[in-house]
Every structure is written in structure tokens, then in C-alpha cells.
């Protein structure tokens, strides 16, 4: 316990020494988040990588339509000290451009393709961020944006089954439950040889 708190303190010192931190959030005893400027993300990730945070665990985005911003989140992990570091940065929602981190973490290639597909963020520097990865032949705005309405899309694209009649077990005219009870009673009677109980 003590040890992990020390680890977080160490990360905070390192990050504050490197870049200007807008906001720090202690998520739990082995996860800490820093919100920084867009242009300093590469610097911070490089410093973190050279200090032991060698694994990019995740890269994704959050849509904040009220602020008109996308928040890009990078999560890196250190195998020596058990601390996840989240690096968050906010980018413009109308023209979402985020420089690729491919030179630092080559594994980010597919995460960036996914973020492009689901949020429409462009990643210059990644040669094939525009290729389709999960959605195929997508024909609408990126689906994880908050202004996308999945149920309207589903109603428009996939016909739903029409039922001529409503069935409900709560309907007083529905005798299904009583019939089930009868059947159970009959089955129980048969189990004891048809004798009356």
C-alpha cells in the first residue's frame, strides 16, 4: 500500500517536471490521470516510455459535445512499478486532428484506426489510419459520437418484426400461467403413479 502511494508520487513528480499539467486525478491506488496540452503529449509519452512505462495499454477518446471537444486518452503501464498512467488531452471537435504516436508506440496503429472509425479523429503520421478496421462499409457519422442516434439508425436500416397481437403474462385474459401450473400438477401426479395426493 505504502509502496504504491510512493509510486504515484514519483509519477506526479516526473510529469510535473516535464510538462505543464492542467489537471491531476488520482483514480485509485495504482492509477493516476493527467490532463495536459495537446502539443506536449508526445514529449510526455516519450519521457514516460524511457522511464519504464513501456506498454501502451489503451488509446481511445471521449466525446464532450457541450464543450465541443474530444478528449483523447492514452493509458501506459509499467511492468516494474504497478502504476497505470492516463494521459488525457482535449482537441477541437469540429476539426479533430491528433498527431500519431506511431514513432513512440508502434502498437498504437490499430488503436488509432479504431479511434478514427468510431470518432472521426484523424491521425496524420499513421500511414493507414483511414482503412476500415471494425465497421465495414459504414455510411453515417462515426457511431460513438454523442450526436449519433443508434436506435434511429437501427430503425432505418434493419426491419423489425411486427407482432399482430400483444402477449403479456400480466394480462388477466392470459391463462398461460394457470395452464403451466396445471401441467406441473399433472406431471407431479404422474411421478407418484397417478395417485391422488
Amino acid at each position: 500500500m505504502m509502496n504504491s502511494m510512493n509510486n504515484i508520487k514519483e509519477v506526479e513528480d516526473l510529469v510535473n517536471k516535464t510538462v505543464k499539467v492542467l489537471k491531476t486525478e488520482n483514480i485509485d491506488k495504482n492509477q493516476v490521470a493527467f490532463e495536459i496540452e495537446k502539443l506536449e503529449v508526445h514529449l510526455l509519452l516519450m519521457v514516460l516510455k524511457s522511464s519504464g512505462w513501456i506498454q501502451l495499454s489503451y488509446l481511445s477518446a471521449v466525446d464532450w459535445p457541450d464543450e465541443n471537444k474530444f478528449e483523447v486518452v492514452y493509458i501506459v503501464f509499467n511492468w516494474e512499478k504497478p502504476v497505470y498512467v492516463q494521459v488525457r488531452t482535449k482537441i477541437d471537435r469540429e476539426d479533430p486532428v491528433m498527431e500519431s504516436i506511431l514513432p513512440i508506440f508502434p502498437g498504437a496503429k490499430y488503436y488509432e484506426r479504431e479511434a478514427h472509425e468510431f470518432f472521426g479523429i484523424t491521425f496524420p503520421g499513421n500511414p493507414d489510419y483511414e482503412k476500415q478496421l471494425i465497421l465495414e462499409n459504414w455510411d453515417d457519422i462515426p457511431p460513438l459520437r454523442k450526436d449519433f442516434d443508434p436506435s434511429a439508425y437501427s430503425a432505418r436500416k434493419f426491419p423489425s418484426r411486427e407482432y399482430p397481437q400483444d402477449f403479456s403474462v400480466k394480462d388477466p385474459n392470459n391463462k398461460t400461467l394457470e395452464k403451466t401450473e396445471e401441467r406441473k400438477k399433472r406431471a407431479k401426479a404422474l411421478r407418484v403413479g397417478g395417485k391422488k395426493q
Binding site: L135, E136, D140, P150, Y153, S154, K157, F158, S160
Partner: protein
């Protein structure tokens, strides 16, 4: 005196002979159904208990099969996303006739809990014909086996004729597939 063992040769037309052979074929077919399990969703978890000693699917002559060309039943267990549907149509068209489709769970029927999702289709029978649905979320092994027994009945009574429907109404199915998927052909870096 005429022998009782002797039955007079009847003149049968070619259609009648064909029908008789089909009946013989159906008898053997319904007692040795081989499944191609397309485990798309969570209903696939009901298959291990149906196959192993608790319910023992083998006693009905059913068993898993490795490739679509050897299988009789395409078992769709659970929800189908658009990406999966595209592969499912590929698989279905590879199977040799007669072929049957069984849909497990409520998702192939009306979308189930995924009815309003952008990536999941609502009705499977718009895209490929389905012979038996097993409702439930998830259906328990008894209902799964009951569904297969229903399919056997259907083969016996010639009501399980989805493969014929697919051949006769091919344009309609193709149009529906095109409306939902845009294009059935797979374009990705692993296929090119």
C-alpha cells in the same frame, strides 16, 4: 395359390420414385444431423451442456462438424453484427443442399436486447431463411434439444424447406442483404 411374399411390381413414374428416394434420404438425414456451430453470441454457452453427458446430443445422431461443406445445420447462436452476418452468408452459401438453419435465442428473432443497436441486425430471416427458432435469453438445453427435435419433425413433414426458399426467392434475399450490408463481398486487408 399365390405366395404372400410376392408383391406385384407397380408402375411408378419417375416423380414417384424420386419422392420415395427423398423419403428414404430424409429418414437417414434427420437421424444424422451434423452441426456447424456459428457461435456468434452468448447462446453458445448452452451448447456444451447439450452436447456432453448431461443431455447428450449424440443420442439423436447429432454432432459437431468442422467445415460448412460437411454440415447439414447452420446453428446461429446469438446476436449477429453486420460484420458477422457478412461471414455467415459466405458460410451459408458454401453449405451443400439440403441445409437447415437454426436460430438460438431471441436476438435472431427480433433483435433481443440489442434491438436498437447500430451494428446488430434485428431479424435473421430477412437475410437467410431460418427453419427453427429457439426462443429464450438464453434458451436452456432442454429447449435447444426440443428445437432440434422440431427440426427433425420438420424434415419429416417437409416443412423445413428454407434452402428451397433461398433458391426460389434468391433475389429478395440478395436485395435485403444488399440493403443492410451495402455489399456482401468482404474487403479487408486479410482477404486482399
Amino acid at each position: 395359390m399365390l405366395s404372400t411374399k410376392y408383391t406385384e411390381k407397380t408402375k411408378l413414374t419417375k416423380d414417384e420414385i424420386d419422392r420415395k428416394w427423398w423419403e428414404v434420404g430424409d429418414y437417414f438425414r434427420r437421424n444424422s444431423l451434423w452441426l456447424l456451430m456459428y457461435c456468434t453470441g452468448c447462446c453458445a454457452i448452452e451448447l456444451p451442456p447439450s452436447m456432453t453427458s448431461a443431455y447428450d446430443m449424440e443420442r439423436l445422431g447429432m454432432g459437431p462438424m468442422a467445415t460448412p461443406r460437411q454440415a447439414d445445420i447452420l446453428l446461429v447462436s446469438g446476436y449477429l453484427s453486420l460484420k458477422t452476418l457478412r461471414r455467415l452468408i459466405y458460410t451459408y452459401e458454401q453449405m451443400s443442399e439440403p441445409k437447415y438453419v437454426v436460430g438460438l435465442g431471441s436476438c435472431p428473432i427480433n433483435g433481443g436486447i440489442y434491438h436498437d443497436l447500430h451494428a446488430v441486425i434485428n431479424q435473421l430471416d430477412q437475410y437467410i431463411p431460418v427453419d427453427v427458432y429457439v426462443a429464450g435469453c438464453m434458451p436452456n438445453p432442454e429447449s435447444v434439444l426440443n428445437g432440434f427435435v422440431d427440426l427433425m419433425e420438420g424434415i419429416k413433414n417437409k416443412t423445413a424447406n428454407g434452402w428451397k426458399k433461398y433458391r426460389d426467392n434468391n433475389e429478395w434475399y440478395k436485395q435485403n442483404q444488399k440493403d443492410a450490408l451495402g455489399e456482401v463481398i468482404i474487403h479487408d486487408e486479410f482477404h486482399e
